[in-house]
Symmetry: C2
Subunit: 431 residues, 2 copies
């Protein structure tokens, strides 16, 4: 059952604050109430900071100002540094760790008038070992990972916006499982400064929101650029490529149907929709992500693995770190070259198509909390450095949400969001 959540969009909150229908403090209190009600089950937060959030809201009221996030409470995945606020990476090594500085994305959020409400649960170092978070739609199921808390907090209506990160499938998969809008930008566009690094060539910041307009709003804040007004009505019917990937046989119930439902609604709305193939080498990009992230990750975590190896989970020690130690530099470089080649080939796809439709996850969130589900439909696009959106709206066979992934051309993040708005309107119309 998809539960209704009372949290309005950030855009609606900004409007209400602008019209003085509610104050920034009212918004913070509404979030805290919702958290009080749902947190015992959902466990989305690693750390809440109600007092400083209230202070920030009061200061905003006094100061006035018209920042683009004026009064919007935010959740940050707990691998993102927050000045004066615990940042523990869900690692025993970092219990009590309090950075003195904000990560770039946090500072930009604060400067825009956003309010840091708390830190959301992450898998250990944004890898696999999960925290306690449950799926707000079914507490027996995983919310996905590694941005578990941010996706779940959104789905439970606890915050209007939250940030995650993706190295293989850590933003888009949880968005699909939790039935929220998720966005991973083109690699390199949002600064990773102050966010715990795993893979310098893959790690990408992502946004969770209740609508696409909110994503564009926050994307502009995080890139320190002007937002684009998403006007799907002005968009000519898009040319849509459907690519089910070489991993379609791993799709569970509802997965392919979700993509097909979205494609069918686009077709009915006038889009051109065609199944597409990519060269077989694209089928190796999941492996590329596995080995590149392991090779780089084992080195990025040199301090932790050298001096605190016993406090690293077996998941990470025997998984990514062992992989990274086993991977030869030649293998690593071959995968880097493959990814680069495919990125350039993938750019060319967008001469024929506007957007690619593909599964966001293998289906509904799996039962159990010890594993965050498979990223088999995500790694390819992380390797491609391409912008991705998970659009919610489809409901799977057992009533759980399933997202559909839209992929755009590198560097054309705002355009992807406009196309996503067109597709969403078409989907909602024909549902």
């Amino acid at each position: 059952m998809i539960t209704e959540t009372p949290m309005p969009t950030a855009t609606a909150i900004l409007d209400a604050i602008g019209r003085k229908q509610m104050s920034a403090l009212d918004v913070v209190e509404a979030c805290l109430e919702r958290i009080a009600a749902r947190e015992p089950t959902v466990q989305a937060f690693a750390l809440l900071d109600p007092e400083r959030a209230r202070d920030a809201a009061r200061r905003l009221e006094t100061a006035g100002g018209t920042g683009p996030l004026h009064g919007v409470p935010l959740g940050f995945k707990d691998i993102i540094a927050t000045a004066g606020l615990g940042t523990e990476y869900n690692s025993a090594i970092y219990r009590g760790h309090v950075p003195g500085q904000d990560a770039s994305v946090v500072a930009l959020s604060r400067m825009a008038g956003g309010i840091v409400l708390g830190k959301t649960v992450t898998c250990e170092f944004a890898n696999r070992a999960p925290g306690p978070t449950t799926n707000p739609h079914d507490q027996a199921r995983t919310p996905g990972g590694s941005s578990s808390g941010s996706a779940a907090a959104m789905a439970a209506g606890m915050v209007p916006l939250a940030l995650g990160t993706q190295t293989s499938g850590s933003v888009i998969r949880p968005a699909s499982f939790c039935g929220v809008h998720g966005f991973k930008g083109s690699w390199g566009e949002i600064s990773y400064a102050g966010t715990k690094l795993t893979s310098g060539t893959l790690d990408t910041i992502g946004i969770y929101a209740r609508c696409l307009d909110d994503i564009e709003l926050y994307r502009a804040v995080l890139t320190d650029t002007r937002p684009v007004k998403l006007q799907p009505g002005l968009q000519p019917a898009p040319r849509i490529a459907v690519w089910l990937s070489p991993f379609a046989h791993l799709a569970g119930p509802g997965c392919i149907e979700a993509v097909e439902a979205m494609a069918a609604s686009a077709d009915r709305a006038g889009a051109s929709v065609r199944k597409m193939e990519l060269p077989p080498r694209f089928g190796q990009l999941n492996d590329a992500v596995r080995w590149i992230s392991a090779y780089e990750g084992a080195r990025s975590l040199a301090w932790e693995k050298s001096f605190h190896r016993d406090r690293i989970s077996p998941d990470l020690r025997l998984g990514r770190i062992a992989d990274g130690e086993a991977c030869s530099p030649e293998q690593y470089r071959a995968f880097c070259r493959l990814a680069e080649r495919c990125r350039i080939e993938f750019d060319a796809v967008f001469e024929e198509y506007d957007v690619l439709l593909t599964p966001a996850s293998p289906g509904e969130a799996p039962l159990g909390l010890t594993h965050t589900g498979s990223a088999v439909f995500n790694g390819t696009f992380t390797a491609l450095h391409a912008p991705c959106v998970s659009l919610p709206g489809y409901v799977g066979p057992t009533g759980m949400p399933i997202g559909v992934q839209l992929v755009g051309r590198r560097g054309e993040d705002a355009r992807l969001l406009t196309l996503a708005a067109w597709l969403e309107a078409a989907f909602l119309k024909t549902r």
Copy 2:
């Protein structure tokens, strides 16, 4: 006048420790003595840590062990985090800042038996505003920047190995000015985790050493891979491209002569040496580096510029940060695309050539300490993500060193070092 420095190579130190001719503590004391003698003039260190260095040396003696850097004292540019040791980025904002964790490169160094002797002076945030360091060959001249202290500490014989970073020309230019061996690896090969980020797509760790063997030794430690034995004698005479860049008119006295002297000695030793041209678009790569590093840097420093703007130098505020705020996302992306295209074209150069010879700096270190000299001969190769070496040995018209830059193919760092060894042998033979 090029001063003679008494510091032996890391390889010689390791050998002497292995043969029990000296202890790790002896080496630390020798470094500290040299520093005591030269530091009042050179001012290479932001922070020295003699007591913990001695402790580490004693612990190594007790524990034994055969790490590849067993007992080698090291200097780290002060934008690289050292657990429990001040890391101030030469920024007023970070006075007294002491990280709790090591950067990846520091942890890997310690695990290899290296000893953290201290932090070397950096320009503010590895940008332009210089520290007090002077050129060990002439205290009226800049050592170059932003890795000023590491290059100067090497040249003054204070340490056998030191680390720097390069975003435009911050490793290779100081190596040239100070007359030491400098190396910037292929981008992405050495983890930047724990090093203060400016530009996620350009920042690269670099090594200063007294010989090429030491660079390969340390490169293997930092990439957590096996070192290659550099055997220039086994190398067939290389195919050498000489490229003076579109900026040759900015070369000062000795600059082109240094490249020509190296080329002539290679020719005499049997190499094929040809002048090469690159497409005109390569002439825009310096601009690409300027605007990409500014665009990304202004965002990476979001916390500093939002909350401590008054403690940022005018150099940085009115330079890189203002540039980054002025650069449009379209401009930024166009430069990113240009750099990517040129990288792939540059790979193809190495089907015809083994190594490219080009100036490492516009000539001798300029007089004055308020500016660290021009990176006009460096940005191109930072944008290309290519491995670069600055080979010392040439002496300019006023007796100051001038390096020659060798550039290799991306991902073939050890091969570049082997080729550099061949070139150096040829140069030393015919000098």
